[in-house]
């Protein structure tokens, strides 16, 4: 299903991550923050429950900052250094280049997520958590990361400036978190009818991630994340085409 060109782009992107300090800095900070939030802020031990709610709860916020940081160079750097002209004149379609970059970064995020394995291991060591819930939690987190990534990839395709790409991606991500965040929805509910509140909340990452981290494997939630990814990749392709020479 994944052609040789896509695989070649994936390998190239992984080289770039690991030839530079980016990969190591990202992995260390991601793992350190995940552990800090889970064990110190989320009160993993004190909660006295053998589940990973206190772990997954923080992922939308962790990704909010870290995923745009991992995504910002994907196209912006190609534009800044001029390599975009090489990449897009090689015998492959822009879709292959785009898919390669997306999958490379998503696999990298999957690696970061996989390296959090000591957290579920300690839950299993301490008690008897439900493996199904842990599985859907990880699945939800991976889908969530992919959705953030697709947004970061889009903002990266818009500019040659990584800082702008980062900031715009964070703002879009923040909006998608907050529009389903209870303090915000409660506030909106004070003056807007319930249907509006629900409509806005339906766009939120948190609403859809919540079910998955509680162990509810809802097709609608998964479909939501997949459609965010597909939609953003589609828009990214359009952005690349319309801003080719800029």
């Amino acid at each position: 299903m994944i052609g040789r060109n896509v695989r070649a782009v994936i390998r190239r992107e992984w080289r770039s991550y690991f030839n530079s300090p980016i990969a190591y800095v990202f992995l260390i900070i991601f793992l350190a923050l995940a552990a800090f939030f889970t064990f110190f802020v989320g009160l993993f031990y004190e909660a006295g429950q053998a589940d990973l709610r206190g772990f997954f709860l923080w992922h939308p916020w962790l990704y909010l900052v870290l995923v745009p940081a991992a995504a910002m160079r994907l196209w912006a750097e190609e534009r800044r250094s001029g390599t975009i002209e090489l990449l897009l004149t090689l015998p492959m379609t822009p879709t292959e280049a785009l898919l390669g970059k997306f999958l490379a970064a998503w696999l990298f995020l999957a690696l970061a997520l996989a390296l959090t394995f000591p957290v579920p291991l300690s839950a299993f060591y301490l008690g008897r958590p439900d493996p199904g819930v842990i599985f859907t939690g990880y699945l939800g987190s991976l889908l969530l990361a992919g959705a953030y990534l697709a947004i970061g990839l889009f903002t990266s395709a818009l500019t040659r400036n990584q800082v702008i790409s980062f900031i715009v991606a964070v703002v879009i991500g923040l909006f998608l978190i907050l529009c389903g965040f209870p303090p915000v929805t409660d506030f909106v509910a004070r003056f807007a009818p319930a249907s509006v509140v629900e409509g806005v909340a339906a766009f939120s990452f948190v609403t859809h991630f919540d079910g998955l981290q509680r162990g509810v494997l809802d097709v609608q939630d998964m479909l939501y994340f997949v459609s965010v990814m597909v939609f953003m990749l589609f828009v990214t392709q359009w952005a690349l085409r319309s801003r080719a020479g800029k």
């Binding site: 080289r15 001029g82 090489l86 004149t89 090689l90 080719a244």
Partner: protein
């Protein structure tokens, strides 16, 4: 081999290239001249399919760049302006990536990479990351990328820019050698270079083609022998004069 037909490109309301038509045949080294901002790089980007033309079409070896971009690009080697390359990869990794996307596998891939490294004299730096290389080596790395698949058509945007005289000499010799059985289009500002390696010259000014002929023909155009430098200035300094002489030179 490379046919450019009535290509026009607008950026917003500004015309960068207007109705440009020319052809580069096999065995030809076509020098593409023009002042800065005349539309050289834009034209080259249109030929390689990086930019779509507003109107007109380009074919490479019979393949329409707009309709069949992947097939056309397979037959093209491209050295973009400023020789971009992935700074965080080594020379070897970079060329291996290019070979991979160019469709080479296993021993063939290794042989292609070795051959490109050998031809461009990159052996001393093959394991260095590209961002640590000098301008000359970086230029040659990007050059190696363009010729790795031995394409029948080559587009080079200022291939000797930033090289020292020795490196310029080496690159010119390579271009002349390859020009025997390829169609090559190269842009440059160095007019001696044109006389040294180009079999034909086109001059673009203000997005319009104002001259097309061999270096010798251009020098004789207008009835008396002049230097290429004079011809270039005359053709490109004012648009009106340029147009008048352009018609004379092309007829």
């Amino acid at each position: 081999m490379i046919q450019v037909h009535e290509v026009t490109k607008y950026f917003g309301r500004v015309a960068a290239v207007r109705g440009v038509t020319f052809e580069a045949r096999k065995g030809e080294v076509l020098g593409f001249l023009g002042p800065n901002g005349a539309g050289k790089s834009t034209t080259m980007r249109i030929i390689t399919g990086f930019l779509p033309p507003t109107s007109g079409c380009v074919t490479v070896d019979g393949y329409d760049v707009g309709r069949d971009p992947v097939a056309a690009r397979r037959r093209l080697g491209y050295l973009p302006e400023n020789a971009p390359a992935y700074g965080d990869m080594t020379v070897e990794e970079f060329l291996t990536f290019i070979a991979e996307v160019r469709g080479f596998d296993g021993t063939e891939r290794r042989a292609r990479v070795e051959n490109a490294i050998g031809q461009c004299l990159l052996d001393p730096v093959r394991r260095r990351t590209i961002e640590t290389l000098s301008k000359g080596y970086r230029q040659r790395t990007c050059f190696a990328q363009a010729i790795l698949h031995d394409p029948p058509a080559l587009i080079m945007d200022e291939p000797t820019e930033g090289l020292d005289p020795n490196q310029k000499h080496v690159v010119r010799q390579m271009i002349r050698r390859m020009g025997r059985d390829k169609a090559i289009i190269l842009s440059t500002h160095i007019l001696e270079e044109v006389e040294a390696i180009c079999t034909r010259v086109i001059i673009i000014s203000n997005g319009r083609l104002v001259a097309d002929g061999s270096p010798a023909e251009l020098k004789r155009a207008g009835g008396r022998e002049r230097s290429l430098d004079e011809v270039f200035r005359e053709l490109t300094q004012t648009a009106d004069v340029a147009e008048a002489i352009g018609q004379e030179a092309t007829t």
